[in-house]
Amino acid sequence: MSVQALSLLACERSIRTTARERTGQSAQVRREEELIRRAQEFDQEALGWLYELFYPKLYNYAYLQLGDVQQAEDLASEVLLRVLESLKGYRFRGVPLTAWVFRIARNYLIDLHRRRQRRPQVSLYEGIPSAEDSPQVAAERATAQSELRLALTRLTEEQRQVIILKFVEGMDNTSVARVLGRSQGAVKSLQHRALVSLRKILSSEEVE
């Protein structure tokens, strides 16, 4: 993806944490804690919240790495089933739910890559756009995403995880560290190297 193209998109979407949002965070954490407790008791409304919150995030996370719509959907479904099975054992204890869910997702993805190495698969669903998209929006999205996916394939696995988890999924260093099983210092180091590499890759693509 060209740096220029991304810069234009950046103007359209900037992420701001307002003071109002910050004051509402503790109430949000308490609400999240209550919803998890209810989900552990199989309350349908709480399970619906969990599913609606994570299915799209997991899909996006998987699609960026697999580049295959159907496999990304399968991963989102399978990971959420594993989350459901293990949810009873989840305790807050400083591990954010998002980090816990994405750790399961990353492990699933690692297993999937191992299986793929042994038994390569050919996708029939590469790049199917969402039915809700207009052709122009779908085309822009596909271009930006496919360029990013291509660039991500040239990073190491951990660098790729840091880029996706931090800059696409919006996690903080603590959560990224928990997903990767690394220290926060290691995450900072990985983040630096990942951005340097990505910059080089994207700049070279722009020149070409």
């Binding site: 740096v3 991304l6 810069s7 998109l9 950046a10 979407r13 900037s14 992420i15 199989f42 349908q44 399970l47 619906g48 599913y51 299915y55 899909y59 996006n60 960026l64 719509v69 959907e73 959420l80 089933l81 459901l84 099975e85 293990s86 054992g89 204890r93 591990v95 750790r103 492990n107 690692i110 297993d111 890559h113 191992r114 190495q117 199917i128 969402s130 039915a131 809700e132 998209d133 999205r141 930006a144 995403q145 190491t156 696995e157 951990e158 800059f167 696409v168 560290a177 928990r178 099983g181 690394r182 220290s183 900072k188 180091s189 983040q191 630096h192 951005l195 910059r199 994207l202 700049s203």
Partner: protein, 541 residues
């Protein structure tokens, strides 16, 4: 500068998150502005990548499946009777008795040979359970439970050998049996031999579980963390150490364990400095070996990520004699038969305590392997191994590389016997066509590479990795990660390569490697000799 810059970059990224303008942020770091700008722009642009959305009808179908599974789980929980512990036993009893009556015992026999991925495996566990009903002596019960727990280790080894994932059923069965055995041992004065056996078994189990971390199925990481906690705490209890004040967190163990070998620089009550890395210790840390004077000694450390930094769960201080009796042979596996493998003209025997680091490979003929072995004690005569088989302590499976007949032998040279070199107590013969070799001083760590000719090696290269007088040389072993062009790390320990570093293979992030080097004052290591074991990254692409 590297580390400071990483911190500055991180601060800038946080400021960018709060909506501050790029120019305002860069104005606060004028010296680093040129370096920061492109990276912050890249980060800003990443935020702009459109989110990919799933197809709504697929998401909806997934929700129906999710909800169905939730309802099934809730019903299963509601049906569970309050006498939960008795239920599996009752089920086991009826299952075993029914199958005995229907099949005349043939199915039960077939089940006894099954592995955890077989549909007959639950029957195998049930049969084991039934065996305990007729044992009334508690010491005997504990002994049988330890046998069964050891059987789980063999099953795990066989799964890993075949390249299959280790699933939760075998891990939970190991945990259950180990817990029950130690409950019996702890509540009364058990015979010392039973305590010793449980202690040795739990130590082996911990070593094997750490080695197979990558082979555990993703959905079974929680069970993996739980069984590791059990075997670790069993070790603490049985060694007569106090109850751990801090219980280990299964989640932290499930997240990943790494180990490295370094030089002890400082020892404080709550932390050790090992090769420049601060490693936290507490009552849950098991320290093994001679712990008298530790400064300047080599330590093998097993660590997990803790909130305050790397936390040691084990520190081993091996004596020089431990290194001296280990012979490492690398080459292509010629044959795998039952619990034996042949490689480099030698036969290696595997037992329940043999650790297999399979990476993503299967243990089969044609696969490249590195076997750490030693002579069986009964085969040692006057310090020289006279047995035909060696005991495999650790097997690392590698991608095939180089000509198939290439074999490498590594160990401490001890002298000559009838023309053979004695390395790690084991006679190594060289083919008559081999070039004349300079005999190294005893105590030298040597590495000989050549091709296999019957029982002998036609030597291509022979090198001294570590002269006996060279003190303070440190060995790191594990998966490497690249920091920059010349700087790498294994676990938390960084190492540098220089023009003088001898590198066997190509250093690739994600490959396994063995690094010998000298520690610097800043805690990093100047690599003298690097053996890269893999030709490609083991991490997912």
């Amino acid at each position: 500068m590297g580390r400071n810059f990483q911190t500055i970059l991180d601060e800038c990224l946080k400021e960018l998150e709060t909506g501050q303008s790029l120019d305002a942020i860069l104005a606060r770091y004028p010296e680093e502005a040129d370096q920061l700008r492109p990276l912050l722009l890249t980060a800003q642009n990443l935020k702009a990548v459109p989110i990919s959305r799933p197809r709504s009808h697929v998401q909806q179908a997934g929700w129906q499946r999710f909800l169905g599974e939730a309802i099934a789980l809730r019903r299963a929980r509601e049906r569970r009777p309050s006498f939960g512990l008795l239920r599996p036993v009752a089920v086991a009893a009826s299952l075993v008795l029914m199958l005995f009556s229907l099949s005349g015992g043939a199915t039960v026999y077939a089940a006894s040979l099954s592995l955890p991925d077989s549909p007959l495996y639950p029957l195998k566990l049930a049969t084991e359970e039934a065996r305990l009903w007729f044992v009334f002596d508690e010491d005997d019960q504990a002994g049988i439970l330890l046998d069964q727990s050891e059987t789980r280790m063999t099953e795990i080894r066989k799964l890993v050998q075949k390249g299959k994932p280790v699933e939760g059923n075998v891990l939970s069965a190991m945990r259950g049996r180990m817990t029950r055995a130690t409950d019996i041992i702890n509540k009364r004065d058990a015979p010392p031999e039973l305590v010793t056996r449980a202690n040795e078994l739990s130590a082996s189990q911990e070593e094997i579980l750490i080695a197979i971390g990558e082979n555990v199925a993703a959905g079974d990481r929680d069970e993996y963390g739980k069984v590791l906690v059990v075997v670790h705490e069993v070790r603490i209890e049985l060694q007569g150490l106090s109850e751990p004040a801090r219980r280990l967190d299964p989640e932290a163990l499930a997240e990943g364990i790494s180990s490295f070998t370094g030089l002890v620089e400082q020892r404080q009550d709550d932390a050790w400095i090992i090769s420049g890395t601060k490693i936290l210790v507490d009552q849950a840390t098991i320290v093994e070996g001679d712990t008298g004077e530790v400064i300047g000694r080599v330590a093998q450390v097993t660590i997990i990520s803790g909130p305050g930094g790397p936390q040691a769960i084990g520190i081993s201080l091996p004596g020089s004699e431990d290194l001296a009796k280990t012979l490492t042979i690398s080459g292509i596996i010629d044959r795998v038969a039952g619990s034996k493998i042949q490689l480099g003209g030698r036969t290696f025997k595997l037992d329940a305590s043999t650790v297999i680091d399979a990476g993503s490979f299967v243990m089969e003929p044609g696969v490249h392997a590195r076997v750490e072995s030693e002579c069986a004690e009964e085969a040692l005569v006057d310090g020289v191994c006279r047995g035909s088989e060696l005991m495999a302590k650790r097997i690392v499976l590698l991608a095939p590389e180089g000509p198939p007949e290439t074999v490498t032998v590594e160990g401490v040279f001890q002298g000559q016997d009838d023309g053979s070199w004695i390395i790690a107590g084991i006679p190594i013969d060289f083919a008559p066509e081999s070039p004349a070799l300079v005999t190294p001083p005893p105590g030298t760590l040597v590495k000989v590479t050549g091709s296999q000719q019957d029982q002998a090696i036609l030597v291509a290269t022979a090198e001294s990795i570590r002269p006996p007088e060279e003190l303070g040389l440190v060995k790191l072993e594990g998966v490497v990660d690249q920091l920059d062009d010349k700087q790498w790390q294994i676990g938390p320990a960084p190492f540098h390569t220089t023009v003088a570093t001898r590198i066997g293979g190509e250093l690739i992030p994600g490959a396994r490697a063995v690094v010998w080097g000298l520690p610097n004052e800043d805690g990093s290591l100047d690599a003298i000799h690097v053996d890269v074991l893999d030709t490609r990254s083991l991490l997912a692409p």
